[in-house]
Symmetry: C3
Subunit: 155 residues, 3 copies
């Protein structure tokens, strides 16, 4: 890939959103040494959820993957703010919580929406470990929540 992560975002027709305001009494990220732990990010766009519901009930896998991609864009916004630019950050781990109805077992395919965006934008700095699990429900009825462990350049 040529150019930096911001160039690749633009080539995807995307731009970093504002860092979402936490829905409650906490901060979007916290740092310890070179590690940054993000708050769980919902797929909010301009402060609202484009859709709500559970996978396997109100939403299909492809829709869930799109929502995971949106949540991952918010993770990138947090990462850029925490690190002082996307070129100063690695994604080490993602945990993707997927609101799931009984019998839905494609959490890994939903989570790919997040993993693939991170890879497209960060390249080798986006190569991460991941867990994907199906939860009963999420804040505000969100279909997915994505949190990340990041490594930032100390220079």
């Amino acid at each position: 890939m040529s150019g930096g992560p911001e160039d690749r975002l633009a080539a995807l027709g995307l731009a970093l959103p504002e860092v979402p305001t936490p829905a409650a009494a906490y901060q979007p990220w916290a740092r310890s040494g070179d590690l940054v732990l993000t708050a769980g990010q919902l797929p909010v766009v301009d402060g609202a959820l484009p859709c709500t519901g559970r996978l396997g009930a109100e939403l299909q896998t492809a829709q869930g993957a799109q929502q995971a991609r949106t949540a991952a864009l918010n993770v990138l916004a947090v990462a850029a703010a925490a690190a002082g630019g996307l070129d100063r950050v690695r994604v080490v781990k993602l945990t993707v919580f997927v609101a799931s109805a009984e019998g839905f077992h494609e959490q890994h395919l939903v989570a790919n929406g997040a993993s693939e965006l991170i890879g497209e934008v960060l390249g080798t700095a986006g190569v991460h470990a991941r867990s994907a699990v199906g939860v009963a429900s999420l804040p505000l009825g969100a279909p997915v929540e994505v949190e990340a462990v990041l490594e930032v350049s100390s220079g």
Copy 2:
């Protein structure tokens, strides 16, 4: 805020409990460098759960927030033991698992019970990132489980 975290705990009418005995084959915390990872803490008081059940079914949001506050007090007990005193610890991240019936979407408000206690007691050392998710069920029927990533002073 004046005084140290123990003073603030006392002003809240609280005292650190004993570190809860793990319910199974593990330890209350483990350290790597300056990071301490706690085990998930249930809202046990004197070794028992004051209430059980799911949010959105047997329990209401305000009750859940109180239980999250209790679990966070146990997190502080673990933190004090791990760090050698509450004045030697920062809370970097909380993950709050909330036992949730279908259709309950106020996990973030439940989790505020934990976040607010941490802030009241630790002040700026309690400014943390957070994830809150709604799970199907928790050990022993607990309504909430809270785990933390801590940074301890190496001095």
Copy 3:
């Protein structure tokens, strides 16, 4: 305990499997400094799940604990690959996600299947903190998913 972790594995009649291929767009582990974060490991054996279903419905606690033990063996395979040998790794934290039907509250006993294997194989290097939670469902219908935070020797 005498001998190294590989000796103890053999004494248990076990051998490290191949590192399971991730089910999707991510890697089995990622490292930052001396920390290694693993991807969530399912109880796959030779690339397939021996059983599927939820605890409290299709599966009983003892079966779930056996599946957690299998998933933990996969965690050990990842750990050995990441660290260059099991004698160079500590397990700091396990998170055990247990697919749970309503009313099932023995996630901690299921998770013991993972914790006990880690302790048997790694000894004091396997003393870890842990969270166990009951989730709605897991990828591919797996009954458990186990992820780990590891510390590897930097030498």
